[in-house]
Protein backbone atom coordinates (compact mmCIF):
# COMPACT_ATOMS: atom_id res chain seq x y z
CA UNK A 1 0.00 0.00 0.00
CA UNK A 2 2.81 2.38 0.87
CA UNK A 3 4.36 1.77 -2.53
CA UNK A 4 1.07 2.60 -4.17
CA UNK A 5 1.00 5.93 -2.39
CA UNK A 6 4.60 6.54 -3.34
CA UNK A 7 3.70 5.80 -6.91
CA UNK A 8 0.78 8.13 -6.79
CA UNK A 9 2.91 11.03 -5.64
CA UNK A 10 5.95 10.30 -7.80
CA UNK A 11 4.67 8.54 -10.88
CA UNK A 12 7.83 8.71 -12.93
CA UNK A 13 9.98 7.13 -10.27
CA UNK A 14 7.83 4.01 -9.95
CA UNK A 15 9.76 0.79 -9.53
CA UNK A 16 8.65 -2.63 -8.23
CA UNK A 17 7.39 -2.23 -4.69
CA UNK A 18 9.51 -4.99 -3.12
CA UNK A 19 12.59 -2.78 -3.22
CA UNK A 20 13.01 -0.54 -0.13
CA UNK A 21 12.55 3.12 -0.94
CA UNK A 22 16.08 4.22 -0.03
CA UNK A 23 17.67 1.74 -2.45
CA UNK A 24 15.05 2.67 -5.02
CA UNK A 25 15.97 6.31 -4.71
CA UNK A 26 19.63 5.47 -4.99
CA UNK A 27 18.97 3.45 -8.18
CA UNK A 28 17.13 6.38 -9.68
CA UNK A 29 19.88 8.83 -8.79
CA UNK A 30 22.71 6.53 -9.84
CA UNK A 31 22.74 7.49 -13.56
CA UNK A 32 23.21 11.11 -12.52
CA UNK A 33 25.95 10.12 -10.10
CA UNK A 34 27.70 8.11 -12.83
CA UNK A 35 27.37 11.09 -15.17
CA UNK A 36 28.90 13.41 -12.58
CA UNK A 37 31.66 10.90 -11.93
CA UNK A 38 32.54 10.55 -15.62
CA UNK A 39 32.24 14.16 -16.73
CA UNK A 40 32.99 16.22 -13.63
CA UNK A 41 34.83 14.35 -10.89
CA UNK A 42 37.16 12.01 -12.81
CA UNK A 43 38.33 14.70 -15.27
CA UNK A 44 39.35 16.91 -12.35
CA UNK A 45 40.95 14.01 -10.48
CA UNK A 46 43.00 13.14 -13.56
CA UNK A 47 43.87 16.78 -14.12
CA UNK A 48 45.25 16.99 -10.59
CA UNK A 49 47.06 13.66 -11.06
CA UNK A 50 48.69 14.89 -14.26
CA UNK A 51 49.79 18.04 -12.50
CA UNK A 52 51.60 15.86 -9.95
CA UNK A 53 53.21 13.59 -12.56
CA UNK A 54 56.47 14.11 -14.35
CA UNK A 55 57.04 15.14 -17.93
CA UNK A 56 59.70 13.12 -19.77
CA UNK A 57 60.27 14.34 -23.31
CA UNK A 58 56.61 14.61 -24.13
CA UNK A 59 55.48 11.44 -22.39
CA UNK A 60 54.28 11.24 -18.82
CA UNK A 61 56.09 9.35 -16.07
CA UNK A 62 53.86 8.38 -13.18
CA UNK A 63 56.09 9.76 -10.47
CA UNK A 64 54.20 11.69 -7.84
CA UNK A 65 55.64 14.97 -6.60
CA UNK A 66 55.02 18.70 -6.49
CA UNK A 67 57.89 19.57 -8.83
CA UNK A 68 55.62 21.03 -11.50
CA UNK A 69 54.22 23.52 -9.03
CA UNK A 70 57.54 24.41 -7.43
CA UNK A 71 59.08 24.93 -10.86
CA UNK A 72 56.16 27.12 -11.90
CA UNK A 73 56.24 29.30 -8.82
CA UNK A 74 60.02 29.63 -9.04
CA UNK A 75 59.77 30.87 -12.63
CA UNK A 76 59.65 34.62 -13.19
CA UNK A 77 57.68 34.22 -16.41
CA UNK A 78 54.93 32.33 -14.63
CA UNK A 79 54.75 34.78 -11.72
CA UNK A 80 54.57 37.74 -14.11
CA UNK A 81 51.83 36.04 -16.11
CA UNK A 82 49.94 35.06 -13.00
CA UNK A 83 49.98 38.64 -11.72
CA UNK A 84 49.02 40.02 -15.10
CA UNK A 85 46.21 37.49 -15.53
CA UNK A 86 44.87 38.33 -12.08
CA UNK A 87 45.08 42.03 -12.84
CA UNK A 88 43.41 41.72 -16.24
CA UNK A 89 40.63 39.50 -14.91
CA UNK A 90 39.95 41.71 -11.88
CA UNK A 91 40.03 45.00 -13.80
CA UNK A 92 37.90 43.79 -16.69
CA UNK A 93 35.33 42.14 -14.41
CA UNK A 94 35.24 45.26 -12.22
CA UNK A 95 34.67 47.44 -15.31
CA UNK A 96 31.97 45.05 -16.49
CA UNK A 97 30.29 45.25 -13.07
CA UNK A 98 30.49 49.06 -13.03
CA UNK A 99 28.72 49.08 -16.39
CA UNK A 100 26.33 46.16 -15.99
CA UNK A 101 24.96 46.85 -12.51
CA UNK A 102 23.93 50.50 -13.11
CA UNK A 103 22.49 49.40 -16.42
CA UNK A 104 20.48 46.65 -14.75
CA UNK A 105 19.27 49.18 -12.16
CA UNK A 106 18.17 51.59 -14.90
CA UNK A 107 16.49 48.80 -16.87
CA UNK A 108 14.58 47.52 -13.84
CA UNK A 109 13.49 50.91 -12.51
CA UNK A 110 12.92 52.94 -15.67
CA UNK A 111 12.05 50.59 -18.52
CA UNK A 112 8.68 49.45 -17.21
CA UNK A 113 7.12 46.81 -19.39
CA UNK A 114 10.03 46.83 -21.83
CA UNK A 115 12.53 45.71 -19.20
CA UNK A 116 12.48 42.03 -20.24
CA UNK A 117 13.15 42.99 -23.84
CA UNK A 118 15.95 45.35 -22.81
CA UNK A 119 17.48 42.63 -20.64
CA UNK A 120 17.24 40.03 -23.42
CA UNK A 121 19.04 42.38 -25.79
CA UNK A 122 21.97 42.52 -23.38
CA UNK A 123 22.15 38.75 -23.01
CA UNK A 124 21.68 37.79 -26.67
CA UNK A 125 25.34 38.47 -27.61
CA UNK A 126 26.24 35.48 -25.43
CA UNK A 127 24.74 33.29 -28.13
CA UNK A 128 26.73 34.83 -30.93
CA UNK A 129 30.03 33.14 -31.67
CA UNK A 130 32.67 34.10 -29.13
CA UNK A 131 35.34 33.99 -31.80
CA UNK A 132 33.35 36.35 -33.99
CA UNK A 133 32.83 38.91 -31.24
CA UNK A 134 36.51 38.94 -30.31
CA UNK A 135 37.67 38.93 -33.90
CA UNK A 136 35.48 41.94 -34.60
CA UNK A 137 37.53 43.88 -32.07
CA UNK A 138 40.56 43.14 -34.19
CA UNK A 139 38.79 44.65 -37.18
CA UNK A 140 37.80 47.67 -35.13
CA UNK A 141 41.07 48.34 -33.33
CA UNK A 142 43.64 47.14 -35.89
CA UNK A 143 46.21 49.35 -37.61
CA UNK A 144 44.07 49.48 -40.73
CA UNK A 145 40.93 49.06 -38.69
CA UNK A 146 37.63 50.84 -38.37
CA UNK A 147 38.64 53.09 -35.48
CA UNK A 148 41.78 54.31 -37.24
CA UNK A 149 39.87 54.83 -40.46
CA UNK A 150 37.23 56.79 -38.61
CA UNK A 151 39.72 58.96 -36.69
CA UNK A 152 41.63 59.65 -39.89
CA UNK A 153 38.55 60.61 -41.85
CA UNK A 154 37.52 63.16 -39.23
CA UNK A 155 41.09 64.46 -39.13
CA UNK A 156 41.90 63.66 -35.52
CA UNK A 157 45.03 61.71 -36.44
CA UNK A 158 46.99 61.85 -39.68
CA UNK A 159 48.49 58.38 -39.78
CA UNK A 160 47.06 55.08 -38.50
CA UNK A 161 47.93 54.39 -34.89
CA UNK A 162 49.08 50.94 -33.78
CA UNK A 163 48.34 51.76 -30.16
CA UNK A 164 44.85 50.28 -30.08
CA UNK A 165 45.62 46.63 -30.76
CA UNK A 166 47.95 44.12 -29.07
CA UNK A 167 48.21 45.54 -25.58
CA UNK A 168 47.01 44.73 -22.10
CA UNK A 169 44.38 47.44 -22.43
CA UNK A 170 42.96 45.81 -25.55
CA UNK A 171 42.57 42.54 -23.69
CA UNK A 172 40.86 44.35 -20.82
CA UNK A 173 38.43 46.06 -23.19
CA UNK A 174 37.61 42.82 -24.98
CA UNK A 175 37.17 40.87 -21.74
CA UNK A 176 35.00 43.63 -20.25
CA UNK A 177 32.89 43.25 -23.35
CA UNK A 178 32.72 39.48 -22.79
CA UNK A 179 31.86 39.75 -19.09
CA UNK A 180 29.11 42.41 -19.29
CA UNK A 181 26.24 40.03 -20.21
CA UNK A 182 27.10 37.60 -17.39
CA UNK A 183 27.30 40.28 -14.70
CA UNK A 184 24.18 41.91 -16.10
CA UNK A 185 22.20 38.68 -16.00
CA UNK A 186 23.01 38.10 -12.35
CA UNK A 187 22.47 41.75 -11.29
CA UNK A 188 19.24 42.00 -13.23
CA UNK A 189 17.82 38.84 -11.67
CA UNK A 190 18.50 40.06 -8.14
CA UNK A 191 17.28 43.63 -8.83
CA UNK A 192 14.13 42.32 -10.48
CA UNK A 193 13.31 40.29 -7.36
CA UNK A 194 13.11 43.40 -5.16
CA UNK A 195 9.39 44.20 -4.87
CA UNK A 196 8.24 47.55 -6.20
CA UNK A 197 6.75 48.58 -2.86
CA UNK A 198 10.21 48.57 -1.22
CA UNK A 199 11.05 51.62 -3.35
CA UNK A 200 7.71 53.21 -2.53
CA UNK A 201 7.95 52.55 1.20
CA UNK A 202 11.43 54.00 1.33
CA UNK A 203 10.35 57.12 -0.60
CA UNK A 204 7.30 57.53 1.63
CA UNK A 205 9.63 57.60 4.61
CA UNK A 206 11.36 60.58 3.02
CA UNK A 207 14.40 58.91 1.49
CA UNK A 208 15.78 60.25 -1.74
CA UNK A 209 16.39 57.91 -4.66
CA UNK A 210 20.05 57.71 -3.67
CA UNK A 211 19.29 56.91 -0.01
CA UNK A 212 16.78 54.27 -1.08
CA UNK A 213 19.41 52.72 -3.27
CA UNK A 214 22.16 52.95 -0.66
CA UNK A 215 20.21 51.55 2.28
CA UNK A 216 17.55 49.30 0.72
CA UNK A 217 18.32 48.19 -2.80
CA UNK A 218 22.10 47.76 -2.62
CA UNK A 219 22.13 45.54 0.51
CA UNK A 220 19.44 43.35 -1.05
CA UNK A 221 21.10 42.98 -4.44
CA UNK A 222 24.75 42.84 -3.40
CA UNK A 223 24.85 39.02 -3.36
CA UNK A 224 23.54 38.91 -6.93
CA UNK A 225 26.21 41.33 -8.08
CA UNK A 226 28.82 39.27 -6.25
CA UNK A 227 27.72 36.10 -8.05
CA UNK A 228 27.89 37.93 -11.37
CA UNK A 229 31.34 39.25 -10.52
CA UNK A 230 32.50 35.76 -9.58
CA UNK A 231 31.23 34.24 -12.84
CA UNK A 232 32.83 37.03 -14.83
CA UNK A 233 36.12 36.62 -13.00
CA UNK A 234 36.25 32.85 -13.45
CA UNK A 235 35.49 33.12 -17.17
CA UNK A 236 37.95 35.91 -17.91
CA UNK A 237 40.69 34.42 -15.73
CA UNK A 238 40.72 31.18 -17.72
CA UNK A 239 40.48 32.71 -21.17
CA UNK A 240 43.00 32.10 -23.91
CA UNK A 241 41.06 32.99 -27.05
CA UNK A 242 40.96 36.73 -26.39
CA UNK A 243 44.66 37.18 -25.51
CA UNK A 244 45.63 35.15 -28.57
CA UNK A 245 43.45 37.29 -30.84
CA UNK A 246 43.93 40.83 -29.57
CA UNK A 247 46.58 40.57 -26.85
CA UNK A 248 49.87 40.30 -28.69
CA UNK A 249 52.91 39.66 -26.51
CA UNK A 250 52.04 42.09 -23.73
CA UNK A 251 48.53 40.67 -23.46
CA UNK A 252 49.53 37.03 -22.94
CA UNK A 253 47.68 35.33 -20.10
CA UNK A 254 47.95 32.06 -18.20
CA UNK A 255 45.54 30.34 -20.58
CA UNK A 256 47.95 30.98 -23.43
CA UNK A 257 50.69 28.89 -21.79
CA UNK A 258 48.21 26.11 -21.05
CA UNK A 259 47.48 26.06 -24.75
CA UNK A 260 51.22 25.85 -25.49
CA UNK A 261 51.81 23.13 -22.91
CA UNK A 262 49.11 20.93 -24.39
CA UNK A 263 50.07 21.85 -27.96
CA UNK A 264 53.52 22.68 -29.29
CA UNK A 265 55.43 22.34 -26.01
CA UNK A 266 53.84 18.93 -25.36
CA UNK A 267 54.27 19.21 -21.61
CA UNK A 268 50.93 18.05 -20.25
CA UNK A 269 51.90 17.93 -16.57
CA UNK A 270 52.93 21.59 -16.69
CA UNK A 271 49.71 22.55 -18.47
CA UNK A 272 47.70 20.56 -15.95
CA UNK A 273 49.48 22.32 -13.07
CA UNK A 274 48.58 25.72 -14.55
CA UNK A 275 45.03 24.49 -15.14
CA UNK A 276 44.75 23.48 -11.49
CA UNK A 277 46.13 26.89 -10.51
CA UNK A 278 43.39 28.53 -12.59
CA UNK A 279 40.71 26.37 -10.96
CA UNK A 280 42.14 27.12 -7.51
CA UNK A 281 42.14 30.87 -8.17
CA UNK A 282 38.53 30.69 -9.36
CA UNK A 283 37.42 28.72 -6.30
CA UNK A 284 39.32 31.09 -4.01
CA UNK A 285 37.53 34.12 -5.46
CA UNK A 286 34.19 32.31 -5.20
CA UNK A 287 34.87 31.47 -1.55
CA UNK A 288 35.96 35.01 -0.69
CA UNK A 289 32.92 36.48 -2.39
CA UNK A 290 30.44 34.16 -0.74
CA UNK A 291 32.13 34.80 2.62
CA UNK A 292 31.85 38.58 2.36
CA UNK A 293 28.38 38.85 0.87
CA UNK A 294 26.07 36.71 2.87
CA UNK A 295 22.51 37.81 2.39
CA UNK A 296 21.52 40.04 5.29
CA UNK A 297 17.80 40.03 4.65
CA UNK A 298 15.88 37.47 2.68
CA UNK A 299 13.58 38.94 0.02
CA UNK A 300 10.19 37.37 0.41
Amino acid sequence: MAAAVGRRLEPITALPRRIPSSIKKFLIVSPALLWILALVILPNVFLISYSLWKNELGSVAHVWNFNNYSELFASDVFITLLKRTLMIALVSTACATLIAYPLAYIVVTKFGRYKTLAALLIIIPLWVSYLMRIFAWKIILGERGVLNGFLESIGLINKPSTAFLYSTTTVIVALTYVAIPYVFLSSYTSLDRVPKHYYEASADCGASAWRTFRHVIWPLTRPGVAVGFAIGFVLTFGDYVTPAMVGGLSGTMLGSIVLQSFGTADNWPQGAAIGVTIIAAGLLVLALISFFTRLEAEID
Partner: protein
Amino acid sequence: MAAEGAVRMPRRRRESKALKYVVVALIAVFVVAVYVFLYAPMIITALFSVNDSKIQTLPFAGFTFKWFTALFNDGPMKTAIFYSLKVAAVAVFVSACVGLAFALMIDRLKIRGKAVIQALLAAPLVAPGLVLGISLLVNFHTAKIEPGFFTIVAGHVSFITPLIMFILLQRLKTADPSLEQASMDCGAGPLRTFWHVTLPGVRVPLIAGCLLGFTLSMDEIASTFFLAGTQPTLPVYVWGLLRFGFTPEVNAAFTLIAGGSLLLIGIAGVLLFFSARRNRLPEETKASRWRRRGAGRRSAGREREVAPNSIAQGA
Protein backbone atom coordinates in the same frame (compact mmCIF):
# COMPACT_ATOMS: atom_id res chain seq x y z
CA MET B 1 9.59 56.46 -9.31
CA ALA B 2 7.37 56.74 -6.32
CA ALA B 3 9.02 59.89 -5.01
CA GLU B 4 7.23 61.82 -7.73
CA GLY B 5 3.94 60.56 -6.34
CA ALA B 6 1.71 61.89 -3.62
CA VAL B 7 4.32 62.65 -0.99
CA ARG B 8 6.76 65.25 -2.25
CA MET B 9 9.78 65.71 -0.10
CA PRO B 10 11.31 69.19 0.35
CA ARG B 11 14.69 67.82 -0.71
CA ARG B 12 13.33 66.88 -4.11
CA ARG B 13 11.64 70.19 -4.68
CA ARG B 14 14.98 71.99 -4.49
CA GLU B 15 16.29 70.10 -7.54
CA SER B 16 15.99 72.30 -10.55
CA LYS B 17 14.25 71.07 -13.68
CA ALA B 18 17.31 71.62 -15.81
CA LEU B 19 19.41 69.37 -13.60
CA LYS B 20 16.80 66.66 -13.94
CA TYR B 21 16.93 66.84 -17.74
CA VAL B 22 20.71 66.61 -17.64
CA VAL B 23 20.51 63.50 -15.47
CA VAL B 24 17.96 61.89 -17.76
CA ALA B 25 20.07 62.74 -20.79
CA LEU B 26 23.18 61.29 -19.17
CA ILE B 27 21.33 58.08 -18.33
CA ALA B 28 20.07 57.81 -21.90
CA VAL B 29 23.56 58.34 -23.29
CA PHE B 30 24.94 55.68 -20.94
CA VAL B 31 22.31 53.12 -21.91
CA VAL B 32 22.70 53.76 -25.63
CA ALA B 33 26.50 53.61 -25.31
CA VAL B 34 26.38 50.18 -23.66
CA TYR B 35 24.08 48.80 -26.34
CA VAL B 36 26.33 50.19 -29.06
CA PHE B 37 29.37 48.70 -27.30
CA LEU B 38 27.65 45.30 -27.22
CA TYR B 39 26.37 45.27 -30.77
CA ALA B 40 29.03 47.22 -32.69
CA PRO B 41 31.37 44.23 -33.15
CA MET B 42 28.64 42.07 -34.60
CA ILE B 43 27.28 44.76 -36.88
CA ILE B 44 30.76 45.55 -38.14
CA THR B 45 31.48 41.91 -38.93
CA ALA B 46 28.22 41.70 -40.85
CA LEU B 47 28.99 44.91 -42.76
CA PHE B 48 32.47 43.75 -43.73
CA SER B 49 31.12 40.42 -44.95
CA VAL B 50 29.50 42.34 -47.85
CA ASN B 51 32.32 44.86 -48.28
CA ASP B 52 34.06 44.68 -51.65
CA SER B 53 37.65 44.89 -50.43
CA LYS B 54 40.27 42.60 -48.97
CA ILE B 55 41.29 45.29 -46.49
CA GLN B 56 38.98 45.73 -43.58
CA THR B 57 38.81 49.45 -42.99
CA LEU B 58 36.64 52.49 -43.53
CA PRO B 59 35.39 53.83 -45.89
CA PHE B 60 33.41 50.93 -47.33
CA ALA B 61 34.45 49.89 -50.81
CA GLY B 62 31.10 48.78 -52.14
CA PHE B 63 28.58 45.99 -51.87
CA THR B 64 29.39 42.43 -52.85
CA PHE B 65 28.31 38.87 -52.21
CA LYS B 66 31.58 37.43 -53.40
CA TRP B 67 32.76 36.40 -49.93
CA PHE B 68 29.63 34.34 -49.50
CA THR B 69 30.13 32.69 -52.90
CA ALA B 70 33.76 32.08 -52.03
CA LEU B 71 32.59 30.49 -48.79
CA PHE B 72 30.38 28.02 -50.62
CA ASN B 73 33.22 27.07 -52.97
CA ASP B 74 35.66 26.50 -50.13
CA GLY B 75 35.88 22.73 -49.59
CA PRO B 76 37.54 22.58 -46.14
CA MET B 77 35.28 25.33 -44.81
CA LYS B 78 32.18 23.48 -45.99
CA THR B 79 33.46 20.24 -44.47
CA ALA B 80 34.01 22.06 -41.19
CA ILE B 81 30.50 23.55 -41.28
CA PHE B 82 28.87 20.16 -41.87
CA TYR B 83 31.04 18.56 -39.19
CA SER B 84 29.93 21.27 -36.73
CA LEU B 85 26.29 20.70 -37.63
CA LYS B 86 26.71 16.96 -37.08
CA VAL B 87 28.40 17.50 -33.71
CA ALA B 88 25.71 19.96 -32.63
CA ALA B 89 22.86 17.67 -33.70
CA VAL B 90 24.21 14.62 -31.86
CA ALA B 91 25.22 16.62 -28.78
CA VAL B 92 21.82 18.29 -28.55
CA PHE B 93 19.95 15.00 -29.00
CA VAL B 94 21.89 13.30 -26.22
CA SER B 95 21.64 16.39 -23.97
CA ALA B 96 17.88 16.63 -24.51
CA CYS B 97 17.27 13.01 -23.44
CA VAL B 98 19.63 13.13 -20.47
CA GLY B 99 18.64 16.67 -19.47
CA LEU B 100 14.94 15.70 -19.42
CA ALA B 101 15.66 12.60 -17.34
CA PHE B 102 17.76 14.55 -14.84
CA ALA B 103 15.26 17.39 -14.63
CA LEU B 104 12.42 14.97 -13.83
CA MET B 105 14.61 13.18 -11.32
CA ILE B 106 15.57 16.40 -9.54
CA ASP B 107 12.03 17.75 -9.61
CA ARG B 108 10.31 14.59 -8.35
CA LEU B 109 12.73 12.95 -6.01
CA LYS B 110 12.93 13.97 -2.39
CA ILE B 111 16.49 13.22 -1.39
CA ARG B 112 19.19 14.90 0.62
CA GLY B 113 22.09 16.39 -1.31
CA LYS B 114 19.97 17.38 -4.28
CA ALA B 115 21.55 20.83 -4.29
CA VAL B 116 25.00 19.24 -4.43
CA ILE B 117 24.00 17.06 -7.38
CA GLN B 118 22.60 20.11 -9.19
CA ALA B 119 25.74 22.13 -8.53
CA LEU B 120 28.01 19.34 -9.76
CA LEU B 121 25.90 18.85 -12.89
CA ALA B 122 26.11 22.59 -13.56
CA ALA B 123 29.88 22.74 -13.07
CA PRO B 124 30.79 22.27 -16.78
CA LEU B 125 28.35 25.05 -17.67
CA VAL B 126 30.10 27.64 -15.50
CA ALA B 127 33.68 26.37 -15.75
CA PRO B 128 35.91 28.21 -18.24
CA GLY B 129 36.13 26.33 -21.54
CA LEU B 130 39.87 25.96 -21.10
CA VAL B 131 39.50 24.07 -17.82
CA LEU B 132 36.68 21.91 -19.18
CA GLY B 133 38.72 21.16 -22.29
CA ILE B 134 41.95 20.11 -20.61
CA SER B 135 40.24 18.16 -17.83
CA LEU B 136 38.18 16.16 -20.34
CA LEU B 137 41.25 15.73 -22.53
CA VAL B 138 43.29 14.10 -19.76
CA ASN B 139 40.22 12.12 -18.75
CA PHE B 140 39.76 10.63 -22.22
CA HIS B 141 43.48 10.20 -22.65
CA THR B 142 43.62 8.13 -19.48
CA ALA B 143 40.67 6.09 -20.73
CA LYS B 144 42.60 5.55 -24.00
CA ILE B 145 39.95 7.33 -26.08
CA GLU B 146 41.43 9.18 -29.04
CA PRO B 147 40.30 12.80 -29.53
CA GLY B 148 37.70 12.99 -32.27
CA PHE B 149 33.98 13.09 -32.86
CA PHE B 150 33.12 11.29 -29.63
CA THR B 151 35.24 13.52 -27.40
CA ILE B 152 33.89 16.74 -28.95
CA VAL B 153 30.32 15.52 -28.49
CA ALA B 154 31.06 14.48 -24.90
CA GLY B 155 32.50 17.93 -24.17
CA HIS B 156 29.49 19.69 -25.64
CA VAL B 157 27.02 17.34 -23.97
CA SER B 158 28.62 18.05 -20.59
CA PHE B 159 27.56 21.71 -20.67
CA ILE B 160 24.41 21.56 -22.84
CA THR B 161 22.79 18.94 -20.58
CA PRO B 162 22.73 21.22 -17.50
CA LEU B 163 21.48 24.10 -19.67
CA ILE B 164 18.49 22.07 -20.89
CA MET B 165 18.00 20.64 -17.41
CA PHE B 166 17.73 24.07 -15.77
CA ILE B 167 15.33 25.37 -18.42
CA LEU B 168 13.13 22.30 -17.87
CA LEU B 169 13.32 22.63 -14.08
CA GLN B 170 11.95 26.17 -14.38
CA ARG B 171 8.96 24.79 -16.26
CA LEU B 172 8.46 21.77 -14.00
CA LYS B 173 8.33 24.08 -10.97
CA THR B 174 5.08 25.55 -12.27
CA ALA B 175 3.70 22.30 -13.68
CA ASP B 176 0.51 20.96 -12.14
CA PRO B 177 1.18 17.50 -10.65
CA SER B 178 -2.53 16.69 -10.62
CA LEU B 179 -2.44 16.14 -14.38
CA GLU B 180 -0.13 13.18 -13.96
CA GLN B 181 -2.16 11.94 -11.05
CA ALA B 182 -5.29 12.16 -13.16
CA SER B 183 -3.59 10.16 -15.90
CA MET B 184 -2.63 7.47 -13.40
CA ASP B 185 -6.18 7.50 -12.07
CA CYS B 186 -7.43 6.77 -15.54
CA GLY B 187 -5.30 3.63 -15.55
CA ALA B 188 -2.29 4.77 -17.57
CA GLY B 189 1.04 3.31 -16.54
CA PRO B 190 4.14 5.40 -15.86
CA LEU B 191 5.35 5.14 -19.47
CA ARG B 192 2.02 6.12 -20.98
CA THR B 193 1.67 8.96 -18.50
CA PHE B 194 5.16 10.16 -19.39
CA TRP B 195 4.49 10.02 -23.14
CA HIS B 196 1.01 11.53 -23.14
CA VAL B 197 1.09 13.92 -20.15
CA THR B 198 4.57 14.75 -18.88
CA LEU B 199 6.33 15.09 -22.22
CA PRO B 200 3.72 17.33 -23.91
CA GLY B 201 3.82 19.49 -20.78
CA VAL B 202 7.53 20.26 -21.18
CA ARG B 203 7.67 20.09 -24.97
CA VAL B 204 8.04 23.80 -25.58
CA PRO B 205 10.84 24.53 -23.10
CA LEU B 206 12.53 21.34 -24.28
CA ILE B 207 12.55 22.57 -27.87
CA ALA B 208 13.71 26.01 -26.77
CA GLY B 209 16.49 24.48 -24.70
CA CYS B 210 17.57 22.38 -27.68
CA LEU B 211 17.75 25.47 -29.92
CA LEU B 212 19.85 27.34 -27.36
CA GLY B 213 22.09 24.32 -26.90
CA PHE B 214 22.49 23.98 -30.67
CA THR B 215 23.78 27.53 -31.05
CA LEU B 216 26.16 27.05 -28.11
CA SER B 217 27.52 23.88 -29.66
CA MET B 218 27.99 25.52 -33.07
CA ASP B 219 29.99 28.36 -31.50
CA GLU B 220 32.04 26.54 -28.87
CA ILE B 221 35.77 27.00 -29.30
CA ALA B 222 37.55 27.03 -25.92
CA SER B 223 37.02 23.39 -24.95
CA THR B 224 36.51 22.03 -28.48
CA PHE B 225 40.01 23.15 -29.42
CA PHE B 226 41.49 20.58 -27.02
CA LEU B 227 39.03 17.80 -27.84
CA ALA B 228 38.90 18.11 -31.63
CA GLY B 229 41.76 15.84 -32.68
CA THR B 230 42.56 16.02 -36.38
CA GLN B 231 39.23 17.04 -37.89
CA PRO B 232 38.25 20.61 -36.91
CA THR B 233 34.79 21.94 -36.20
CA LEU B 234 33.96 25.28 -37.78
CA PRO B 235 35.18 27.53 -34.94
CA VAL B 236 38.41 25.52 -34.62
CA TYR B 237 38.97 25.71 -38.38
CA VAL B 238 38.30 29.45 -38.45
CA TRP B 239 40.61 29.92 -35.47
CA GLY B 240 43.37 28.31 -37.53
CA LEU B 241 42.60 30.61 -40.47
CA LEU B 242 42.64 33.70 -38.29
CA ARG B 243 46.07 32.93 -36.91
CA PHE B 244 47.66 32.51 -40.33
CA GLY B 245 46.19 35.50 -42.13
CA PHE B 246 42.70 35.33 -43.44
CA THR B 247 40.23 36.50 -46.06
CA PRO B 248 36.94 38.34 -45.51
CA GLU B 249 35.37 34.96 -46.22
CA VAL B 250 35.64 34.40 -42.47
CA ASN B 251 33.35 37.40 -41.95
CA ALA B 252 30.84 35.77 -44.27
CA ALA B 253 31.01 32.51 -42.33
CA PHE B 254 30.59 34.35 -39.02
CA THR B 255 27.68 36.35 -40.36
CA LEU B 256 25.89 33.22 -41.55
CA ILE B 257 26.44 31.41 -38.27
CA ALA B 258 25.46 34.45 -36.19
CA GLY B 259 22.35 34.95 -38.32
CA GLY B 260 21.44 31.31 -37.85
CA SER B 261 22.09 31.52 -34.11
CA LEU B 262 20.00 34.67 -33.71
CA LEU B 263 17.17 33.09 -35.69
CA LEU B 264 17.26 29.98 -33.49
CA ILE B 265 17.35 31.90 -30.21
CA GLY B 266 14.63 34.19 -31.53
CA ILE B 267 12.42 31.15 -32.06
CA ALA B 268 13.46 29.77 -28.67
CA GLY B 269 12.67 33.09 -26.98
CA VAL B 270 9.23 33.34 -28.56
CA LEU B 271 8.45 29.73 -27.63
CA LEU B 272 9.55 30.22 -24.01
CA PHE B 273 7.66 33.50 -23.72
CA PHE B 274 4.36 32.09 -24.88
CA SER B 275 4.80 28.88 -22.95
CA ALA B 276 5.43 30.85 -19.74
CA ARG B 277 2.36 32.98 -20.39
CA ARG B 278 0.09 30.06 -21.11
CA ASN B 279 1.25 28.04 -18.17
CA ARG B 280 1.20 30.82 -15.60
CA LEU B 281 -1.35 29.71 -13.04
CA PRO B 282 -3.63 32.27 -11.42
CA GLU B 283 -2.41 33.21 -7.92
CA GLU B 284 -5.26 31.45 -6.21
CA THR B 285 -4.74 28.15 -8.01
CA LYS B 286 -1.05 28.26 -7.28
CA ALA B 287 -1.69 28.77 -3.59
CA SER B 288 -4.12 25.89 -3.40
CA ARG B 289 -1.66 23.73 -5.30
CA TRP B 290 1.04 24.39 -2.76
CA ARG B 291 -1.36 23.62 0.01
CA ARG B 292 -2.24 20.36 -1.69
CA ARG B 293 1.39 19.40 -2.09
CA GLY B 294 2.14 20.27 1.49
CA ALA B 295 -0.84 18.26 2.68
CA GLY B 296 0.27 15.31 0.60
CA ARG B 297 3.66 15.34 2.25
CA ARG B 298 2.47 15.90 5.80
CA SER B 299 -0.40 13.48 6.02
CA ALA B 300 0.17 10.80 3.46
CA GLY B 301 -1.38 8.33 5.85
CA ARG B 302 -4.68 10.13 6.04
CA GLU B 303 -4.78 10.70 2.33
CA ARG B 304 -4.29 7.04 1.70
CA GLU B 305 -7.83 6.36 2.78
CA VAL B 306 -9.43 8.94 0.56
CA ALA B 307 -7.21 9.04 -2.52
CA PRO B 308 -9.25 7.21 -5.14
CA ASN B 309 -6.37 6.14 -7.33
CA SER B 310 -4.50 4.41 -4.55
CA ILE B 311 -7.58 2.31 -4.06
CA ALA B 312 -7.76 1.66 -7.76
CA GLN B 313 -4.12 0.70 -7.92
CA GLY B 314 -4.14 -1.31 -4.76
CA ALA B 315 -6.93 -3.42 -6.19
